[in-house]
Subunit: 336 residues, 2 copies
């Protein structure tokens, strides 16, 4: 099934079930008022939502028109947002770009940071930017939402705790990262609010494309209206989403509604190298930092600037029939 | 006023107003069902809670007996837990202990990490520890809860957003920290669930002791039943709580119910040095890592082990009349 949170002016919005083609939705408030409430009682609530989803599909219940622009992030605020780095090609490129090494451990011990989760941007909200020197970047990623996960869970068992899947634009302020990471405590100011796709879907909605807790489809990232990234989220993943959940749960329980991110989706080139821009026939990149590194390797310096007011990003994923699965994240940077 | 969340088996517990002497409480559910609900609407709700608090004080409403052991952390789960390092003496000692330098920037740019907030321990919950080699440590700290804070808030304005104050035992797994920080993304597995004091209080409850957004009282940390730390939270603070809030809000809005921590409370010695243990007439330490560093300086190696099953910690703060302000965090490490 597909779920969304409509922005109704409240902090948590209201839960709706969305038709598979994203055209219609039906209020699910009588089952669970909010997405978090549904996740808090998933085992009991999910079957009831599934019944409603079937009714929506068969037009057996009164529906309203679903407008992606009215959707908030599926969880407008969450109790946890932990972002991993499943795609080591991204890590290799970004580290190169800031002259930092990739430790060997990154290839067997997932990199993960605790992100801010007290307020996410809507999928169509502008990205407020105070200072262009902060180096605003988008990062196209996959994110999953879990139910309650016990401490010490195995990766095998973790897979069953993945209840919903979304896309995310993990906004990063590249100009603030080196100084912040040098302090040793990880990202804080360099990771402002992120935005998630208008719709979150259960794994079964992905059919065969969901395999080994990865989505085997291209993540479509457009920048200023042109294709920028088409990396396949099922390829070149050093870690699966289930492995990232297990990593997060090593020393503590994870509560229902926690969101775990894949890190920027990134594929190597056909030659095993860092790949080519879309305009040059490659699969491109899901963030600007990567293309800047490619430019640096090729030209000695980066030529694509980071985002500033007026720049737009679109993140979407389409099924084999070219239908949007999650709806689109579409954001414009605005001066704040 | 003083507020608490009673553990009623639900994820968020139920909100009560507690008498100043911590002996009685009254259900506040008709005003706001949970602490988060109160914070979500603080401007409207706080005056109603204040009226109830006066009635509780005057025994003008039916009260129940308040038992600290029935209290959950005031926010059993929160949308944000961001922990700073206001007390540079702690940072200096802990960095020395792991052979890491203190950058100059730490003295003017607050150190802060994004902590996990999806589930906190109750103030009397055991601390589950899988492996003693993880180096379990307590950290006695001050924490504040804010209402909605806009991006870019000044430290002056941030002070007014501090609505509630608590104590916290920020559990740390010292054995996992060096490896995790070396990866560059900050703490994750090395910071399992923390526990907060049974009661959260409004700043006015502290009277003159709340000055410059710091509490000018000793933080009483007992370890295995003996005084271990008596550092004054108003002394040797490089940053105020308001400055930490402003730091957190530099690049994003902060949502109501976000918790900001002070970092481990730590005083320098009378001679400007790292201070003495309580048993030797000093103010002691609010975590084990500090005393281990003192031992290393003095004896060439640490002699106090980190916590293992059976070890207990108590964190409390008393007013000028020796009355407990927040109730006590009392936790025992148990094998998990």
């Amino acid at each position: 099934m597909k779920l969304a949170t409509l922005n109704d002016g409240t902090r948590d919005g209201r839960l709706v079930v969305v038709s598979k083609d994203l055209t219609r939705c039906c209020a699910a408030g009588y089952i669970a008022p909010t997405m978090q409430a549904a996740l808090d009682n998933w085992a009991r609530v999910a079957p009831e939502l599934e019944v409603l989803a079937r009714d929506v599909e068969h037009e057996a219940v009164p529906c309203e028109r679903f407008h992606e622009r009215q959707a908030h992030s599926p969880l407008p605020r969450a109790y946890q947002w932990a972002d991993g780095s499943a795609y080591i090609n991204h890590v290799e490129l970004v580290r190169k770009a800031r002259d930092a090494e990739v430790p060997d451990s990154f290839y067997h011990d997932p990199l993960m940071y605790q992100g801010g989760s007290d307020g996410f941007l809507s999928p169509r909200s502008p990205i407020p930017l105070v200072d262009p020197a902060w180096g605003c970047d988008m990062e196209g990623e996959i994110a999953i939402i879990i139910d309650d996960v016990p401490m010490g869970v195995s990766a095998e068992d973790a897979a069953g705790h993945i209840k919903l899947i979304m896309l995310v634009n993990d906004v990063s302020l590249r100009g603030l990262i080196p100084g912040e990471l040098a302090k040793g405590f990880g990202f804080f100011q360099s990771k402002p609010a992120s935005a998630f796709s208008p719709v979150a879907v259960t794994p079964d909605e992905l059919g065969d494309a969901w395999n080994g807790s990865l989505i085997h489809l291209p993540l479509m990232v457009d920048y200023n209206g042109a294709p920028f990234g088409r990396a396949n989220a099922g390829k070149d993943a050093t870690f699966t989403m289930a492995q990232l959940v297990a990593h997060a749960a090593k020393t503590r329980n994870l509560s229902a509604g926690s969101i775990i991110g894949s890190g920027t989706v990134s594929n190597k080139g056909a030659d095993g190298g860092p790949g080519q821009p879309v305009a040059e026939g490659g699969l491109g990149y899901s963030c600007i930092a990567e293309i800047r590194m490619i430019e640096t390797i090729r030209d000695g310096k980066p030529s694509t600037p980071f985002m500033s007011a007026g720049d737009t990003v679109k993140v979407e994923m389409r099924d084999a029939d070219n239908h949007s699965i999650f709806g689109a994240i579409e954001q414009e940077v605005v001066a704040a």
